[in-house]
């Protein structure tokens, strides 16, 4: 059960034009900033937003002319949209009932699915009495109950608190692994995408900017958005042998390349010095501090100089260096942690 | 704002008072005594008097320049109720002695005078689909008849007339007043109704009236009285006089009333 689609949705001031494919058993994450068109793409697949052009094929059969109720595409909505007047069991049994099963048979199917997501005890609870995590699992069971050819998840973990999120993420990964159809997942959280998906499709302003496996994308971002998502400094430059020129800055890198390239390195690869360090590392610039903020356990320092930079230092190092905005400082990047790849 | 508004309002007021007061009074009695300033007279009258009293009010205003006559027409019982609850009326003209009695019993009027009588007619749609000729025809099994409810004067009169004739009628509806009853005839919803001849005349030819001899057994008296607590007692008495005068009787007979 595979998906092959080309989704075009035109609205005043916005155009979505993306190609999206997912093989049977594959989980594809649609990643992008707010307003990129992720949810529009998902709605286009489900038949909730009409396409201006393109097509949606499931196993080679066109479905984009069918109304939503005849596509057999399961959707887990962002805030789940469990029917408030029905019990968890009847929410899950809703789809099978619509497919023509009798009430008792539909409830048997639903009970089995609820059991699978570990909610057999809550079958008769109304959605208002379920926790966020439980509601998420009911929503998944409900979407799976129609034996969908394609499963769509819209920000499936966004409504959960941090703790529940961790737990549900792992569980969701298990359920998705057990699902034999194609899955498309929309998220703006890179961690969700990395953990849950086999392949990422990054969209910005309605167009695909990068696709690849999570590790490919994490190592080789191609846009500022992706770089920021995965926490890397990213530049576009010209390579010649082991050197890359980015504006006025010159990098030494591990790879030998020629022509236009991306250069990427993590903020932790940047070291800061009050005075010019001895035995000077190769990638060294003078830079001015723009701002300082907490970032996890570290301190992130935003700098500008020949290139804009983000650097992570430990709190004690920050105290030793006595960093203040506007201060001039030396920044060095380890060549071994600098990756260059063709643009 | 107010200063700019004032002249405009004043102009309108002058124009309106001209419309009512400056109109020439065509050859009637001279202005009565004490009609120097603007005065107003409030008359509560039975709904069946709407046309005649409006006309009489117009004549009264012509004769008493500067006087404005305001009417409240309605069911006699409702009006009587309003008067006993303190409504500021000067004159009460009722469609039945019984309703007048509630006002006199309350000490709010004395010595009412009967100024008109109304008799019933059979009202039928213009094309008279049920071919009604006499009171007896109303008893036909297929004939749809509307009567006034017994609680209102025209209903009480209808019962009296039917009893006198010994005719048994099963009406389809007992309406709340004569006008409503007549509406049912005019729209052809019923084949016949018993209403006052004045109502038939006022309906202007859309309905045909058929006289019947038993109507004489159920004559309805209309009493009128100036109220004892009338704010405009003088004018009230003068209006009652106008109604009882030859001029008043002419207006009433033209509309189909009998006068005593």
């Amino acid at each position: 059960m595979s998906l092959d689609s080309h989704l075009v949705v035109e609205r005043p001031g916005f155009r979505l034009d993306v190609e999206l494919r997912a093989a049977a058993g594959e989980v594809v994450a649609l990643l992008g900033p707010n307003g990129a068109g992720k949810t529009t793409a998902l709605r286009g697949l489900a038949g909730l937003t009409p396409l201006s052009g393109g097509r949606v094929e499931l196993d080679g059969a066109e479905v984009h002319r069918l109304p939503a109720e005849r596509r057999r595409i399961g959707v887990v909505f962002q805030d789940y949209l469990l029917f408030p007047h029905l019990s968890a069991l009847d929410n899950v049994a809703f789809g099978p009932r619509c497919q023509g099963l009798r009430r008792a048979a539909a409830r048997r199917v639903a009970a089995e699915l609820l059991d699978r997501v570990g909610l057999a005890d809550h079958a008769h609870a109304r959605p208002a009495h379920l926790s966020g995590g439980q509601a998420q699992r009911v929503a998944l069971a409900r979407a799976l109950a129609v034996r969908p050819r394609l499963l769509l998840l819209d920000e499936p973990l966004a409504a959960l608190d941090a703790h529940t999120r961790l737990e549900i993420r792992a569980e969701l990964r298990r359920h998705l692994a057990a699902f034999d159809g194609a899955t498309v997942l929309v998220t703006h959280d890179p961690l969700d995408a990395m953990v849950l998906a086999h392949r990422l499709v990054v969209i910005e302003n309605g167009a695909v900017v990068q696709t690849g496996t999570p590790s490919e994308i994490a190592r080789h971002p191609r846009t500022d958005y992706v770089a920021r998502l995965v926490g890397l400094n990213l530049y576009r430059g010209e390579a010649e042998g082991n050197h890359v020129t980015v504006g006025e800055a010159r990098f030494s890198s591990a790879e030998r390349l020629t022509g236009p390239v991306f250069v990427a390195f993590p903020p932790s690869a940047v070291a800061l010095y009050r005075t010019r360090p001895d035995g000077s590392p190769r990638n060294l610039w003078r830079a001015t501090i723009d701002g300082i903020e907490r970032h996890g356990d570290n301190v992130r320092v935003h700098l500008h100089g020949p290139i804009p930079l983000a650097a992570d230092v430990t709190p004690s190092a920050a105290a030793d260096l006595d960093l203040t905005p506007g201060q001039e400082i030396w920044a060095a990047v380890k060549a071994t942690e600098t990756h260059a790849y063709p643009a | 704002m107010l200063t700019r508004l004032f002249p405009a309002v004043a102009a309108v007021l002058v124009a309106v008072s001209c419309l009512t007061a400056c109109g020439s009074s065509p050859g009637t009695a001279a202005p009565a005594s004490g009609s120097g300033g603007p005065a107003s007279l409030t008359v509560f009258a039975a709904a069946s008097l709407t046309e005649t009293f409006t006309e009489l009010g117009r004549r009264f205003e012509s004769a008493h320049s500067g006087t404005e006559v305001t009417f409240s027409f309605g069911s006699s019982a409702t009006l009587a109720q309003q008067i006993t609850q303190g409504a500021p009326a000067d004159v009460f003209a009722a469609a039945s002695p019984a309703t007048m009695k509630t006002v006199t019993d309350a000490g709010l009027a004395s010595a009412p005078a009967v100024f008109a009588r109304n008799t019933l007619q059979i009202a039928v749609p213009e094309d008279n689909p049920a071919k009604i000729e006499s009171l007896g025809d109303l008893a036909g099994p297929q004939v749809k008849v509307a009567l006034c409810a017994e609680q209102v004067p025209c209903g009480a009169a209808a019962v009296k007339a039917l009893d006198a004739a010994g005719v048994e009628v099963t009406p389809v509806t007992l309406e709340q007043d004569a006008k409503a009853t007549l509406t049912k005839v005019r729209l052809g919803e019923v084949d016949a109704a018993l209403v006052y001849r004045t109502d038939v005349i006022a309906s202007g030819g859309k309905v045909r009236g058929i006289d019947f001899p038993e109507a004489n057994q159920a004559v309805n008296d209309y009493p009128i009285a100036a109220l004892t607590e009338a704010p405009a007692a003088d004018l009230a008495r003068q209006f009652v006089d106008l109604v009882l005068s030859r001029e008043g009787r002419d207006v009433l007979t033209t509309a189909g009333f009998q006068v005593p």
Partner: protein, 256 residues
């Protein structure tokens, strides 16, 4: 509680309740039992309850789909349509009754055909009372339900569609249960309005004890001769409607 709210609130309450107090003060309590036992009173009360309830059912049957049409479709001229729906609210009920006669009367546009073809004549029948009441009361239901439909989150309907529900299934298994409180509120307003209906009823259906004389008609005619009786009838009508509505409210809040 802020006094700019409290003072007008209490004034409003007094405004609504004082007339009722007036009725209670004037009620002829001594003769109340035998007045209530009069068969005419019970007959009118029974007729009122039956017709108001059937009229409400008719309004639900026709009004809920109409509200759906107004709330969920993009018909051209929908604004005009919505304005037309509220016509019975603005129209004096007596005029509404005349309008009904002109259409459904024995010589009315549609009534004539009904009469010729089936021998059916609606004026002066209990069915006519139901029609008159439904005509006047329907806007209350339609407006309440339309408001509820507009306020309802349509994404639930989308969720139902992705689960394979047809439009009709979506409507009766998702939309309707979700707007049920709005429908009930509308039905209550509708029922109350039908129960108190006078003008359209007496004009279209006439007044005949046991067949078309509902409580408000009985009250009006009693006022002509016996105001005390009118007060008694009004109190009966009030008491019954308060009991019914309070009972219903308890039931909803009990299950909600």
């Amino acid at each position: 509680m802020p006094w700019p709210l409290l003072v007008p609130a209490l004034a409003g309450l007094a405004f609504l309740v004082l007339p009722l107090a007036g009725l209670l003060a004037r009620a002829p309590w001594q003769s109340l039992p035998q007045r209530l036992a009069e068969p005419r009173v019970l007959e009118a009360l029974r007729l009122s309850l039956v017709t108001a309830t059937i009229a409400t059912a008719v309004c639900l049957l026709l009004g809920v789909p109409l509200a759906w049409l107004l709330a969920r479709t993009t018909l051209p001229g929908r604004r005009v349509l919505r304005a037309l729906v509220t016509v019975p609210l603005v129209l004096p009920p007596v005029v509404g009754g005349v309008a009904l006669l002109l259409v459904l009367g024995r010589r009315g546009l549609a009534g004539q055909w009904l009469y010729d073809a089936f021998g059916v004549s609606l004026p002066f029948t209990t069915a006519g009372v139901v029609l008159a009441e439904a005509f006047v009361a329907m806007p209350f239901l339609v407006i309440a339900v339309e408001g509820a439909l507009r306020a309802a989150d349509q994404r639930y309907e989308e969720a139902a569609a992705t689960l394979g529900a047809s439009r009709w299934t979506v409507f009766h298994r998702v939309t309707l249960p979700m707007v049920a409180p709005g429908v009930l509120a509308g039905a209550v307003l509708c029922w109350a309005r039908a129960l108190g209906e006078f003008g359209a009823t007496i004009t279209f259906a006439g007044n005949f004890p046991g067949r078309t004389q509902t409580m408000p008609l009985a009250v009006y005619l009693a006022l002509e001769t016996d105001p005390d009786a009118a007060i008694v009838l009004s109190l009966v009508l009030l008491a019954v409607s308060v009991i019914v509505l309070a009972g219903l409210r308890d039931r909803w809040t009990g299950t909600a």
